[in-house]
C-alpha cells in the first residue's frame, strides 16, 4: 500500500485559458481538493489498481450524505516522504463504519503553503499525463456499498439516511 488516495474535483484541475497549459487554477487549491484543517490533509493508503482504489471509495462513500460520482487521484507515498512530507497513520480520524478500512487512513500533517503548492503541482502533472486518476460513477459506488452490506461488512443502519435508502432500494 504505497500510494495515497485523495478525492478531488477533476474539472477544477484542467487548465483554463488564463492559466496557460501548465498553470493551475486557484479554485483547484482553495476548493475542497486540497482544503486543509489544522494544517492536515486526509488520505487513504492503497495500491494502484481498480480493486484496491474501490476500497478507498467504499470507505469514503460509507460516510457520505448522498451517493455521487467521485474522482480519485493517487499520490506516491515514497515520493512525498522523500520530499519532506510527514505522514501519520490516523485510523481514529475517519468515521467510516467499516472496521477493516480504518487502518488505511492517514493524514499529511504540519502542512505548509509550499507543500500544498508541491501537492498541487504533482496532481496537475498527473492531469497533463492523464495518469493516476480513477473515476467511480454513482452506480459503481452504489454497487460497492450494496456488496459490502450483502456480506455484512457494512451495516445498513450505519449509513446516512439518503444513502441507506438508495442502497436499500438497490438490494
Amino acid at each position: 500500500l504505497n500510494f495515497l488516495a485523495r478525492k478531488i474535483s477533476r474539472a477544477k484541475w484542467e487548465p483554463a485559458p488564463y492559466t496557460g497549459p501548465e498553470g493551475i487554477r486557484a479554485d483547484a487549491i482553495t476548493g475542497s481538493c486540497l482544503r486543509t484543517q489544522n494544517d492536515t490533509l486526509s488520505l487513504w493508503k492503497c495500491t494502484p489498481n481498480d480493486a484496491d482504489v474501490s476500497e478507498v471509495v467504499l470507505a469514503l462513500a460509507s460516510t457520505m450524505e448522498k451517493i455521487e460520482a467521485m474522482h480519485i487521484v493517487l499520490l506516491d507515498q515514497n515520493y512525498l516522504q522523500a520530499n519532506g512530507f510527514v505522514i501519520e497513520n490516523t485510523p481514529e480520524n475517519t468515521h467510516t463504519p467499516i472496521d477493516d478500512l480504518r487502518g488505511r487512513h492517514v493524514d499529511l500533517i504540519n502542512l505548509t503553503m509550499a507543500q500544498i503548492t508541491f501537492l498541487a503541482t504533482d496532481i496537475a502533472a498527473k492531469i497533463r499525463q492523464n495518469t493516476g486518476f480513477y473515476l467511480f460513477t454513482k452506480r459503481a459506488i452504489l454497487e460497492q456499498l450494496a456488496s459490502a452490506v450483502k456480506v455484512s461488512r457494512l451495516a445498513l443502519n450505519s449509513l446516512q439516511d439518503k444513502v441507506k435508502l438508495e442502497v436499500q432500494n438497490y438490494l
Binding site: R10, E14, D27, T30, S32, R35, E68, T137
Partner: protein, 192 residues
C-alpha cells in the same frame, strides 16, 4: 397561477424563511415587510417589487456557493436553501433559480455550482426546468459546467437523461469527461 404567485408573497427575509442564517458580509438581505394581499390596492407605494425577494435569494445562493466549496457526497448550504425555497415557493423559486443560472452562465464556478446543487435535489422538485438547465449546461464552453451537467443528469437518471447524454457525447472534446458520460449512459440504461 397568478393567485399562487400572490400567495407565495414573502413577508420575512428570504434567508430566514428558507432555513439558513443570513451570511455575514452581505450588504442587505432584508426586504421590507409586505402588506397582506387585502391591502394591496391601498399600499401600492409601499409594495416592494418582487425583484427584491429574487435579488435577495440570488445574493444568498451566490454567497453560499462562494464561501463553501461543493464537496462530492456532502450536502451544501446552497442546495439546502434551494430545496427549502422550492418547497416553500413552488412557482417563484424555479424562476429565481433559472434566473441566477442564466445571469451567471459565463461564470463557470457559479453556473456549475448551481447545476451541482439542483442535481442533488429530487427530480420531482426540479422537473422539467432543471433538466432543461442541465441540457443547456452540456454545451457550455467550460468543462466545469459540462461536468456538472453530466452529474446532474446522472443523479436524476431516467430515459430523458440518457437521450440528452447520447446527443451530447460525440461533441465532447475532453476524453475523461466523454468517458464519464459514456459510463453514465451505460449505468442509466441498465437501471431503466
Amino acid at each position: 397561477m397568478e393567485d399562487q404567485q400572490m400567495s407565495e408573497t414573502i413577508s420575512t427575509p428570504v434567508a430566514t424563511e428558507i432555513g439558513i442564517s443570513t451570511p455575514e458580509g452581505l450588504p442587505s438581505l432584508r426586504t421590507p415587510v409586505l402588506p397582506r394581499l387585502g391591502n394591496l390596492a391601498s399600499a401600492e407605494n409601499d409594495f416592494p417589487k418582487p425583484l427584491d425577494q429574487q435579488e435577495q435569494f440570488s445574493m444568498t445562493i451566490l454567497h453560499l456557493l462562494e464561501v463553501e466549496p461543493i464537496d462530492d457526497g456532502h450536502s451544501h448550504p446552497a442546495e439546502e436553501a434551494m430545496e427549502n425555497a422550492l418547497k416553500r415557493y413552488k412557482v417563484l423559486a424555479p424562476a429565481w433559480i433559472q434566473a441566477i443560472y442564466l445571469k451567471n452562465f459565463k461564470r463557470p464556478s457559479a453556473a456549475g455550482g448551481i447545476l451541482r446543487c439542483i442535481g442533488r435535489l429530487k427530480d420531482d422538485l426540479v422537473e422539467p426546468w432543471g433538466r432543461s438547465m442541465a441540457i443547456r449546461g452540456l454545451s457550455h464552453p467550460e468543462l466545469e459546467v459540462r461536468e456538472a451537467a453530466v452529474r446532474a443528469l446522472e443523479m436524476w437518471g431516467g430515459q430523458d437523461s440518457v437521450e440528452a447524454l447520447k446527443v451530447y457525447i460525440d461533441g465532447e472534446p475532453v476524453a475523461w469527461l466523454k468517458s464519464y458520460a459514456s459510463q453514465v449512459i451505460n449505468d442509466l440504461t441498465k437501471s431503466n
